[in-house]
Symmetry: C2
Subunit: 430 residues, 2 copies
């Protein structure tokens, strides 16, 4: 499937990759390309069982930890050797697409198989072990915050705290894990490197007609769960002047946040993606409106300034609507950079496969962002048509999927044969 | 319990009234005075069963129609005589209060019992029959529109259409009725007059230190269920300029509606009490925002002008946010006046009991508004503390409850002994 002029040491099998993508996509698929596989749902449980069976069929040891993070371990080098972890997440947004996350897990499976096949064919030993991973609740759609499984694994969030997070129906992560049989207690150590493949989720690659990139930096994010607190009253007789409408304050703030982003050009993203209204009855003035606010920026000073401006806007909106407010939850993700060694390796491999790698920023969170606090990590990107993500029409061709998978396989092959430190340099694990 | 200088022909029993209010309030009561008895819920079913048992214990014939409207018929005069219907609704808002609706049903029970006791004591015949009613889905909290049961009964809405209305979870009225065993098929004819007692739900009475009033006019209402249609996308990478955020359009409109009400002083009420966001995930740009909009005015020209302005604001908000929109449902309630004869009778009775009746407008809907299209009807009002309604702190003292009940009893007694036409004049049934 690759151009004949390119060289690969560990060829991946696109047909096998496609069959695996089709196989796992059964769980949660809707019409028109839609995927609804909320984390720890029945559909997610079925997809996990599918992966567990795949691990068993291909000689991987299946483990899952207290967060339900699912691992397939392949001891290619034996105990004590460094481990390279590869993977992403099988959970999706509600009514999302079929490639976000899923491609990263499936391509990891295919890449590791391709590398072990190549090593075996040449009779070469591996200097590293491999682990395929499927992280719990990357999306943050059902439980907040996002990146929950990888954050606990990386040590930046507490297990008990994470297990106590509740979804909109009041079900905790702990209960949801038990429901689908993935409340585990396996211990899996922090790997020595982590590689994740993902669809781009923006249109830089697609617009420029390029098929491959690597995220070199990740934006910071400040996420607020903010409640405006009004007073429940009848929408009929209650005089307008006496209403304390929590939703009205929310409306003012949503408009303010949009306007604020405009002041920063391309350097700030703001959103309110989720809004909970209580009691949410057509003829009752809302007593409570809970806004799930996100501010994202590459520059820490812009992010801090935007947060301060937002808090001033919150006060203004509350005063104008005559309501109170309270901050329910804050989640901060610091901006940073991925592993220079892994980026350089991806660049070399991509070039050897005939493609120049595009350097990208990632604005959305990825499990590799959480993991980069604990070990060298990188997110590689294949183009998504029109930059679409979190939507049923999200699409990456099988050729592009296979290319991204091939880059991983060749990276793993070089690491396996030359050694991790040799290939990526002496990046310290923290 | 009434002042000794006042006269009543059919004294009501405040202790009995209180015991009944306490009895039925068990079903759906929460802490701090809260009542959550959504129509056709399990709690509503239990309250209905309680009322059914009360009817059986007091010689009333229990009937319920295709909408689950619940009736207790007392043939005091025999077949062919006119019927006076009295009652309100047992359903509540989510986290609402214990008096809205419930007082109207329970006071009807007590008033009819007091009248029949008085007639019996004096050996007088009744010229009319009595029916106590509990209407289905007055509140419109679970199913829209509100006044659903009374509107079908009055002939202004179709039964099948009403049964097909669905709640937020997709459950139809038809299914919900079957679930609690109140899918009926009894035929109950349109009565010759209808009297409803309700808490005021505004503070005119309480502010003026008066305990009793009658609504003489009802405001018109125009209710829209309006959807803004954007495009689902990731709140991270998607450039701000490319977002099609349905919730942002909703926010613009909510602010516009509030501003518009300000332009009309006290003559226009506007609200968005319910907002449904899809997919409502923190890191997904909302694809859909459904606003439940209400415009209310006494003057038809103001209501029409407000609707036209709102539709222009909808266009503006959609354009500004780069989204589409569609109207999903419109409900119009025409402004009007209640029965002059019943208002005059209430005035006379109130005066004989030592209170001057305050004439009020009702802005909120009442089942008697729907019924006034079919027969002479009126809503009487007792004060609610601070004008509070649709809130757990909603409160009417037992003395005030008993006063309102006494007015109904004396009205019924005069109708029973003098005849309906004699007392209220020749108001035609339509």
């Amino acid at each position: 499937m690759l151009d004949q002029t390119t060289t690969t040491a560990a060829p991946v099998n696109a047909d096998r990759l496609k069959a695996m993508m089709d196989g796992v996509t059964v769980f949660g698929a809707g019409s028109g390309g839609a995927m609804t596989r909320l984390t720890l749902s029945r559909e997610d449980g079925a997809a996990r069982d599918w992966l567990k069976a795949w691990f068993a069929d291909h000689g991987f040891t299946h483990k899952f930890d207290g967060m339900g993070n699912q691992f397939g371990l392949l001891e290619a080098a034996g105990a004590g050797a460094p481990t390279v972890m590869v993977g992403s997440h099988l959970d999706s947004q509600p009514n999302g697409g079929c490639f976000d996350g899923t491609l990263g897990v499936i391509s990891a499976c295919e890449a590791v198989v391709a590398v072990t096949e190549a090593l075996k064919k040449r009779g070469s030993a591996s200097r590293v072990n491999f682990t395929v991973v499927n992280w719990t609740n990357e999306e943050g759609a059902r439980f907040q915050p996002s990146l929950l499984g990888s954050s606990v694994f990386a040590g930046s969030a507490e297990l008990d705290w994470a297990l106590d997070r509740k979804d909109g129906a009041g079900i905790s992560v702990r209960e949801a894990l038990a429901d689908i049989g993935y409340a585990g207690n396996d211990h899996v150590p922090i790997p020595d490197a982590l590689i994740e493949l993902h669809i781009e989720g923006a249109e830089a690659l697609d617009r420029e007609g390029r098929k491959f990139g690597a995220f070199t930096r990740y934006w910071g994010a400040t996420k607020y769960r903010l409640a405006f607190l009004g007073r429940q009253a009848h929408t009929g007789p209650t005089p307008m002047a006496e209403r304390r409408d929590a939703l009205l304050a929310g409306a003012y703030l949503i408009a303010d946040l949009k306007a604020m982003a405009g002041d920063y050009g391309l350097d700030l993203h703001t959103s309110v993606g989720r809004l909970e209204v209580f009691p949410n009855s057509p003829n009752t003035v809302p007593a409570e409106a809970v806004l799930f606010i996100e501010l994202r920026a590459a520059a820490p000073d812009i992010l801090a300034e935007a947060e301060a401006r937002m808090l001033a806007d919150v006060d203004k909106a509350a005063t104008r609507a005559g309501v109170g407010h309270e901050v329910r939850f804050i989640d901060r993700r610091i901006a940073g950079a991925f592993s220079p060694g892994l980026i350089r390796l991806a660049d070399e491999v991509s070039l050897s496969l005939g493609e120049t790698m595009r350097r990208l920023d990632t604005i959305g969170g990825h499990d590799a962002v959480a993991m980069s606090a604990a070990c060298p990590a990188v997110v590689l990107a294949v183009r998504s048509r029109g930059g679409v993500i979190h939507h049923p029409t999200e699409f990456t061709s099988i050729e592009d999927q296979a290319f991204g998978t091939q880059v991983i396989a060749d990276m793993l092959y070089r690491i396996a044969t030359e050694g991790l430190d040799t290939v990526i340099g002496e990046e310290a694990r923290t």
